[in-house]
Structure formats: C-alpha cells, structure tokens
Symmetry: C2
Subunit: 355 residues, 2 copies
DNA sequence: GTTCGTCCTGTAAACGTTTACGACGCTACT
DNA sequence: AGTAGCGTCGTAAACGTTTACAGGACGAAC
C-alpha cells in the first residue's frame, strides 16, 4: 500500500520534518499535519499514533515553513534600545514587565522576542528590516520620543504596533504609558499639604516624552494650589545617577533654597542622595525628596525615599492583551490609549519643612 | 513578450513580495532574485533597474521564505531568564554586552534576538521550542548552572550553542566565562598584602556556577599565602542586595570578627553598606570590603568600593566572534573555552586593618 | 555556414507546512 | 438497490524565496 511514500524513501536518503513522521507512520503528511493540529477529520486512533510518534521522534515543526504558510509568525517583537540608557532597558522592572507580557501572550500561543536596537543603528532602518514581512507580525516600541519618526513610519507601513509611551506624532495608534502627570500632581499635593511652598522639580532633557508631561502636571498642580511657578526651580539634567548629582549641585546653588524637590527619574535619587550626603544635607530633614518609580536600587537609600509604586505584572498583562487586540482587530485597537496609574508611597524623605 | 507574467497579473489580483517586483519590471522572479542577491549572471543595466524598483516599491524580502529556502535563519538567539535575578539580566552591563555582540554579528549579516525565558517556563522545553528547526540557528545560553541540563540537551540535539558561563556538565562545548578564580585570588592577594589575615567571603547558593569557582580561588589563594581556611568565614547568601544585608548581619555576629570581606556578587555591596551604616560600622576603616564586578549602581557608594573592571564591549565582541565560529566550524568551535580577565580596581573600601 | 562560447534570462523544483478538495468505504435511509 | 451522508484519508496547491538547469540571442572563430 501507499507506494508513493515508499518511493520517497528511496528517492531522498534523509528526510526530515513532518515528512519523516509521515513515512514512519505510513501516513500522508496531510493527515499527520491535521492530527498534530487538532483538526476534526482524523480518526482518534490515528491521532493517538501520530502524537505518540511525534513525541518519540521528537518532532518540532519548522517555524519558517509554518510562518510561510500562514501569513503570520505568531511572534511579537519588542524593540529595546541597547547602549542608550533608556527608561526601560537595564532594569529589573523591565524584566518583570517582559515576564508578565510573555505570560499573557503565551496563552494565545504567541512568542515574544526582544529585538535589541543598537544605539548606532538607525531606528527606522532597524524597524524596516525586522518588522514588515519578517520575523514578527506585530511590534512593541519603547522609549518613545515626543516627536517619534518610528511611529510615523509604522503608521504609514500599516504594521500593527503598540507604543510603550505617548508621543505627539499625529495619527491614531495604540499606546500605554505611565501616569506622569498624575505622579507630578500627587507629588505637589503631598508636599503642599505638609506646608511646602517652594518645590523644585528635576526632569530629563526635553526630547523624551515623559519630561514634558511630568512638567505639565507640576505646573497644573501648582496652579491648582494657587502657587506661582518659579522657573528657577525647574532643573534639567540627564535621568541617570549623574543627573541626580547635577540636580543636587544646582539646588544648593540657589539663593532662596527650595524646601522640597521632586525627581522625574528614579535613578536620579541615587546621585542626589550621594551628593547631599557629601555636603551634610540630610534628605527629609533639610530637603524633602520625592522620587519617581520604585526600584530595587532605591530600597537601600536612607532615609527611605518617597516614590511611586505600580503593579508591574498587571501592566505587563495589559500590554500583552493590547498586543493581542492589535492582531485581532487592528482598527479597533487604534483607539487604545491607556494611562497606567502610579500610587504614591510616603516615606521619611518627605517631611514638613523646617521654618 | 512574456505572456506568462501577464497571465499572473490577471490571475491574482493582489501580488506581493518579489513577484510584485518582477511584474512591475516585466522580469522573471528568478532574475530579480539574482539581481538583488548580487549574483554575477545578470546584466548591469537590469540590476540597476531592479535595485531602483526595489527601493521605490520598498521591497523587503520575506524572512520565512528565505529561511525556508536556505536551511538557516541568519539569526542567533540569546536566551535570558526573566523573573529570576540572574547574573546578567536587569543590568546595564548586559545591555552593553548585547550591543557589542550585535555589532560583531551584524558584520556577517547576522541578527541577534533576545529570547526571554520566563521563570515559570521549563528551560528545556523553552529551548526545544525555539532552537531546533525554528527561529534561530544558533543560541547563546546565560547563567549556566553547575549541573546544567540545558547543555546536555543541546549537545545531544546537535544545536550549535555557546554558553556564557562554565558548567560541570560533561562533554565538549564552547563557553566563555569571567575569571572568578582570578578575582578571588587577586582579592585575597590585595588584602593579605595590606596585612589582613581573617578574610571573610560571601557567595550565592551552591547551584550557580560562579560561586563554586570563586570559592575555589579563595581557598587556593589562602593556601598560597599559608593561611588557614576558617569555615566560619564562608558566608552564604543570595546575590541580591538583600543577600548583602544578610552577609553584614552574619559578619557582625561572628565572635572573632574578620577584618575584611570579599563579595562574590556586585549587588551585595549595596545591602552590605546599608546595613553597616545602620550599626555604625564604616567600610574601609572598620571592615575592608572588596566587591565583585564594577557596576554603575555601585558608583555612589561611599567610601568607594574596590572591585573588578572588565572591558564589556571587548567581551561582547569576543562572544559574537565565538558565535560566528560556531556556525562556520561547529567541530572546531567545541574547543572554545575562554576565561575572561577581571582587573582589580583599588579603592578606599580596602585599607590596612586596625590593630 | 556551422559550431562554439558567452551573456543573459526564464523555468521549475525545492525548502516544510497547512488546507481546500476530492476520493473512498461504510452506514442508513428511502 | 440506489443514494445521501459521514468519517477518514490522500492529493496537490500554495506561501516567498533561491538556484540548478536549460534555452535563446548574439558574436567570434573555424
């Protein structure tokens, strides 16, 4: 029976993949495929045999073949920028986010791969190469800029994508971002409630998006409390530890020193604490400090730093679901725009000002 | 001319990929492919036209199709464990390593993708799914264990792989690892030279490989100096900041307190410093401390921590080259086993013991 | 004028899957 | 008895590429 298959045995000396399975079972590859994929029109006994043989021969379907046949790869890519110290990269926060994302995606049989984009790479060319008609069928971009050409490119290209971070690039696209404005507002509220009036703020350079929104929340909150905005109290520095040092230096140089400072990046606190310690200024007592995101690296600052907590795993799941919605209904997904809440966590670094 | 192509135009209303290019140019897809891939047997004028049209139509070859045709994907995967605080994940060190790796791989037209393996995943099943006959044609595993079943599986499977970290799993396979033994030796040497005799050591749990080698270097170096090994000075704790706290507590509990401690994980220093500060013990003066790897998170410790520096980018390039050697000559590559040097960086946290 | 070579191009098979379709045997109904 | 239906399975096309091979045009050499 089934001579064609025996012919194949003699034609190609070494067969592989599903064909080998079919030969071994003396079935057609079509039937084997159907059995493996749970299609209804296959006898229970046959399916059992196929599954057993697949396990025995350690059959694993070729990803390229499968992707080529369906129009999709069942893989979503998350591009992260190596080299440049972005908000997300090089952070346990990020690892947990990815972990939770993957958990959600796995439920739908989707894989997640991280695409490291070198700082030397052109981010546009990088996306072109990877995304469209390539390894992944949808993509998550991180560390969005206020003007982000990647978004314009992806929109034009029609590639399903999700932005982790807002942007002012025109067009409707799905994004999820942290509530920077809310964090700024809550910071101001907490400080004003304790009696602070002169509140400094530090944020990274202008081109990164969060700085802009964080600033806006700061101004709005001050206005809501009827307080003036003193431009001298608005400090610019990089978001790294070194930026914190610069902020501390700038603060101490001010003639009418503020009684509190809020930091728009979590790592700044480390440099700030360090420099304050050198000059004998104690956080909390001499200067109230509110950081940004909770981070394991901040847990050992003394006195403990007031900052904002968020449920990373829940965020990761939300991101994962948004990505899946992307594939399911690209049009509807374009309406997704979600601000993820940050919860203020009081700590001794914030105290009433000394008069 | 060329009626078959015109037939295609009317048959399928919407064509895509190289076929669309061919139609647009009124050429066969074979010729177009040859022109794009720089094959010699194509007229210069034709090649020019094809290249121009490819750019105009923004043609990007389908990865699945290409991979299916060649037996390879031109992609190497690096699996990193999310969730668990590994040596590499969640670290700017790691990002720089990836950056340098990618730079090297890009020269040969290879892509690098990061495969996040959830802590909940079975690492073996994860590898099976991704590596063999799938998205990547070679793989880099990180955070090797002393007994690592992944290595055994990959060896048996025949998948080209590189281990970032040694293992005692039998078999010849390529690996690159940091010189933990050398770091331990140099630490002991530096401390003994200053007059320290009772030197404590802290390292993570036994199952991770580096701890074992680090310990061995410690014992050997002590023996070389004719010093006894006091088992009470060998401390076990996790490699995290919390581990450092535990180490500090254990140190202070010892009846005959050592004058120095060496830490097998860079993050430990943070917790250690923090706890020492709480009880008024000053690093350097009261207890000399040598950390492990340099890390931006340690830069703001005071007094500055003595630790070990390494050229991350050079290491990344070495890893990249090793991966390429893997594909070129799998047999020869199995001999690769490289210990990457660590350079001792003195700092005020190490001083002569007070008598 | 035939033959040979060179240059260029088209043809078609192949990579490993999935799936629409048809074929076959069997049961059960009219 | 004929046929409709169902269950099961094989066949073959298709996904987008690459490439071995063949073939056509053309010029040069005999």
């Amino acid at each position: 029976m089934c001579q064609t298959l025996f012919e194949n045995v003699y034609e190609s000396s070494y067969v592989t993949g599903i064909k080998a399975l079919a030969q071994h079972l003396d079935l057609s590859i079509g039937t084997v495929s159907r059995a493996l994929n749970g299609k209804p029109d296959v006898k229970a006994e046959t399916r059992r045999r196929v599954l057993a043989a697949a396990k025995e021969l350690d059959y694993r379907p070729n990803h390229s073949g499968r992707s080529l046949r369906h129009g999709r790869t069942n893989t979503v890519g998350l591009v992260l920028e190596t080299g440049s110290p972005s908000t997300l990269a090089g952070d346990t926060f990020f690892m947990h986010l990815v972990d939770a994302m993957q958990e959600t995606l796995a439920e739908e049989g989707l894989d997640l791969v991280l695409l490291p984009c070198r700082s030397a790479d052109d981010p546009i060319e990088f996306l072109r190469r990877h995304v469209t008609r390539r390894m992944v069928d949808s993509i998550v971009i991180t560390a969005t800029r206020r003007q982000d050409e990647r978004i314009a490119m992806l929109l034009e290209d029609g590639t399903p994508f999700l932005a982790l971070g807002r942007s002012e690039t025109p067009g409707a696209y799905p994004w999820i971002d942290l509530d920077f404005a809310g964090a700024a507002r809550d910071s101001v509220d907490a400080l004003v409630r304790l009696g602070h009036r002169r509140i400094a703020i530090a944020a990274p350079r202008r081109d990164v998006n969060l700085a802009h929104i964080y600033m806006e929340g700061y101004r709005d909150a001050l206005a809501a409390h009827g307080l003036p905005v003193d431009e001298a109290l608005i400090l610019r520095a990089s978001g790294s530890e070194n930026g914190g040092v610069q902020v501390a230096e700038a603060l101490l140089r001010l003639e009418d020193r503020p009684t509190a400072v809020m930091l728009g990046q979590e790592l700044m606190a480390i440099g700030l604490y360090s420099h304050l310690a050198q000059v004998g200024v104690q956080p909390g007592r001499d200067l109230s400090v509110i950081g940004f995101r909770q981070s394991p690296q901040l847990r050992f600052l003394s006195p403990a730093l007031a900052c904002f907590a968020l449920d990373v795993r829940a965020l990761g799941k939300e991101v994962g679901q948004a990505v899946m919605a992307l594939s399911a209904d690209p049009v509807a997904a374009r309406g997704i725009g979600r601000v993820w809440p940050l919860e203020y966590v009081p700590a001794p670094s914030v105290q009433p000002p000394v008069r």
